[in-house]
Symmetry: C3
Subunit: 394 residues, 3 copies
């Protein structure tokens, strides 16, 4: 009995989760486990003291999604889908009839076995990109570049890495928060020993999705890291007159083309042929604890999504406005990160490439808050105003 308690508390320390939880191991390289299809429900678990939920895993078939897996969490308020075989990326969140995510020409959940990240001089990542949130890191991120005659392909490897261990944990205590943890390994002999325990949590009754990732440098040497949490939203949130709101300290255009968009950078066009993309580099203000929020909401300001993050972990924010046509991918990215989207060699010159000491750990905490009423949008607006607290945007 004592032994079990001990093991639970060590796991609690490691995962910063509740001390009591039911664990389900769905994938485990060490234990040679890969559950092809699996489900649990609050009913099945006898958890009748709070709102009902279910967690389902399925294996996908056909085309380039052969062998991909998908985990879906369903509560009364939310349906959250994430992809163990693609870096535990979030495919989409649904709340009622509103979908948070976007529609890419890539309409399959591509198994990384079919991806060559270095294709077309380093943009093979585009062959699989369609998620609401992709982990772009951790060994490198940003546009393709070259250091020491080696290509750093677009947005790194994590988002195309199949998880080596996946554990679903349900808190014993009501409201029975659901945690899905996944281990991503970017291990290469001599070059990289970065491992990330990702965690996505949903609490039945709460319209939010929390991310708590822990990156560890398992090497005996200091190692660089970069990360961008590439969070992407299309219709119905994104539309003509939709708005981006954030407590912005500094803004600058990513390139010449974006200069033209500086004057109305906070509002969005409808689907616009020939728009391509405008990218802005932002530095956000934060509250006294370093927390900040960015939001995108629709024209009527009665639907939106807020992305909360910690500026001590993720100091910069990229705003990606890709309001091209619907078929081309009508989407805007809110991308908290350690870096902007420049190639690593440029970020390095700017001093934004971080270093993790031997055995060092770094956490990343984000929260996606789902807004489906004008009150909720107003609430976030007030929080952002409070963070800005009258300070200027440069």
């Amino acid at each position: 009995m004592k032994k079990v308690m001990l093991s639970v508390s060590i796991s609690a320390l490691l995962f910063s989760a509740s001390a009591f939880a039911k664990d389900f191991v769905l994938t485990d390289v060490a234990g040679n486990i890969e559950e092809a299809n699996w489900q649990t429900t609050s009913g099945e678990l006898g958890l009748t003291d709070a709102q009902p939920f279910s967690v389902t895993k399925k294996t996908l078939h056909g085309g380039k999604q052969e062998g991909s897996t998908l985990i879906t969490i369903e509560t009364k308020d939310l349906q959250v889908s994430l992809i163990p075989t693609r870096g535990m990326n979030i495919l989409e969140i649904k709340s009622g009839d509103v979908r948070f995510g976007w529609t890419s020409p890539v309409d399959e959940i591509v198994n990384p076995a079919f991806i060559n990240l270095e294709m077309r001089n380093g943009v093979g990542w585009l062959d699989g990109f369609n998620e609401m949130m992709v982990r772009c890191g951790y060994e490198w991120t940003g546009h393709p570049g070259r250091e020491n005659d080696r290509l750093t392909s677009l947005h790194g490897r994590a988002g195309n890495t199949p998880a080596s261990k996946v554990v679903v944990s349900i808190d014993d205590a009501a409201p029975h928060t659901i945690h899905v943890r996944g281990l991503l390994k970017e291990n290469t002999f001599k070059l990289s020993a970065l491992e990330t325990w990702t965690e996505l949590s949903v609490t039945p009754g709460v319209k939010a999705v929390k991310i708590h990732d822990e990156l560890t440098n398992n090497s005996d040497y200091d190692r660089n890291y970069q990360i961008i949490y590439h969070s992407n939203f299309g219709t119905p949130i994104l539309e003509e007159g939709a708005k981006f709101v954030a407590p912005v300290k500094e803004i600058s255009p990513f390139n010449d083309y974006a200069k033209k968009g500086l004057k109305d950078w906070q509002t969005y066009l409808g689907p616009t042929k020939g728009y391509d993309e405008m990218v802005f580099n932002l530095v956000p203000y934060a509250d006294k604890d370093g927390r900040t929020i960015a939001m995108i909401h629709n024209k009527a300001a009665d639907r939106g999504i807020a992305v909360g993050f910690d500026t001590r972990q993720l100091p910069v924010l990229t705003l990606w406005k890709n309001t091209d046509t619907l078929k081309q991918g009508y989407v805007s990215g809110i991308e908290p990160g350690t870096s902007y989207a420049y190639p690593r060699q440029i970020e390095r010159k700017q001093g934004r490439v971080k270093t993790l000491a031997a055995d060092g750990r770094q956490s990343f905490d984000l929260e996606y808050r789902i807004l489906t009423t004008s009150e909720e949008v107003k609430g976030i607006d007030s929080e952002i105003t409070a963070i800005t607290s009258g300070q200027k945007t440069n």
Copy 2:
């Protein structure tokens, strides 16, 4: 009732198939379907009013063909094998004891998961090439090249793309033509939204295989496309004294080495060590509807295969004579296309890279006619003579 009829006729328009048919969905990304092993037969379907047939799908195992799939259509006259996981390519056609296809050193049906198209500066395609017909396209085709500092690897991606949807349809009416349709997606965010519904049809009692492909540009922008239907034949059709026959308006050597072969370009050598390959660029004559035919037949002119195509869709023809040794791959290619086999940047200068408008569609129709008697060979010869109708070859 009306609704059903409507849906049938839309489907008929889309697929240019008979209005009434039994459909079997073998692969479907949207429906999460991938039948591992499947069969239907005329007997099982109760179709006793015409010649018997069977259609079989199996999943392959071992080596680099782990996870590949193969569909085989068998009628009294023909056995046709095609590969859903490799661009719906035709592996081979057998008629009695005659095999149409060739023997490559690559003797497995390689799963594209094991292929890196950009390997060795863009010739990774050679690690999987062994089919009777490979779709070389549609985003680009030809020898490896470079545009905008991006590699265009040998012969494009379609032939190494696993089909996202595969449907077998059997016509309700005798002679119960069998259609195998497969959807190939070349979708890359920002860069490509080309989708091709391929269709291969066999009619029991008819010694022919028809191809009807429909390429759609699902993008809102004009997009380039190129396609070569790389159709390849070895022994027993190819042999010393075998002959290539076509209504040729213009012929030119692909390169200096091929100049030497101009004088006897229509006849074949036996397996010849050191021959490597000679390639000729042809422009065919066509009948008033744009249809033309090219044939390769054996020395005795009692066995061969005719490739019929539409010059309005596929205006040029590459003749690939690779009469090297048997082990090296003794094979000749009859390759109708929009392009010759030069890299895309060269084809572009020559004005042969086609453009498909936003939402545009383009069909490609080919017919492989199996010739197993001298009468059949003579018949095609007469058709070719009629098309040429005394015009000269330049």
Copy 3:
């Protein structure tokens, strides 16, 4: 009866195995066989006249090892694991509580479907490297280079090639030697038709693992080949004061950095931060039959492993001292080969790139002898002294 005998003796010729054996086909592309999980034991086979053994195959799941396979041979003395999906490489050998192999930051048995050998300018091989023995060849080996504008990626393709046929054979006669044979194909149209029948043999009661590989050039043209048997050992054999012993005729440093290590090249440091790697090029002396031995043993000289090989097949030996930290990969490689680890274009200039004639065959024989007592270590020491027989090291 006669027919069976004949087939047995042809198979015996092909495999140089005992004339009578029980064969189990675990993988066969031609027969569409891939046993996912399989086992045989001496008990099950009724072989009670000698020491017991078992042979087990399992398919691995999760992360990047999804779809990898592993065969484990267990006798009273040894547990030998090899990887059919990765070039029949040896993962590790265990004898009692001693493990022969090493600990790489890459801690999964990576399915080659997830490997891009050309990644990072040709070092994608490092994403999967963790075996006790990797076949580095056969089309090329060594550090990444470039010939004819084509990358020759680190250490070739064989080690990341899934076997196309795998056969377990148990000798009928006691002591019932176990043979695991695997066919590796490096087949690329126009470029390569090298096939290797690998064979690993273990005799119950004998603390040795024998390798007998037969490389065939199935082409009609002479073809180059290179091979390094990259054999790697970490703790507990490798430790501070561990020793490398071999009959060395010539030694030279691989590069400038290794020059510093020349004075104490035969002894090892403990895990040493910042050491990285020192590589030495050796030419071994051999006995009158061309056989030679290299050994690595621990400080106490009571544990070690001897690598025996044939210098007529593998004339040179690379010593790789990678005594960096434990987490970085504390390991030393004893690497008999046709080549040193320089890129192919350099090895070619040095005349070390071998040629195999059309239809030519070349065998490679190695023996790993497991040493777990000081007597065994001394025995090998005496054999090495006998081979050196007083000759000098240059």
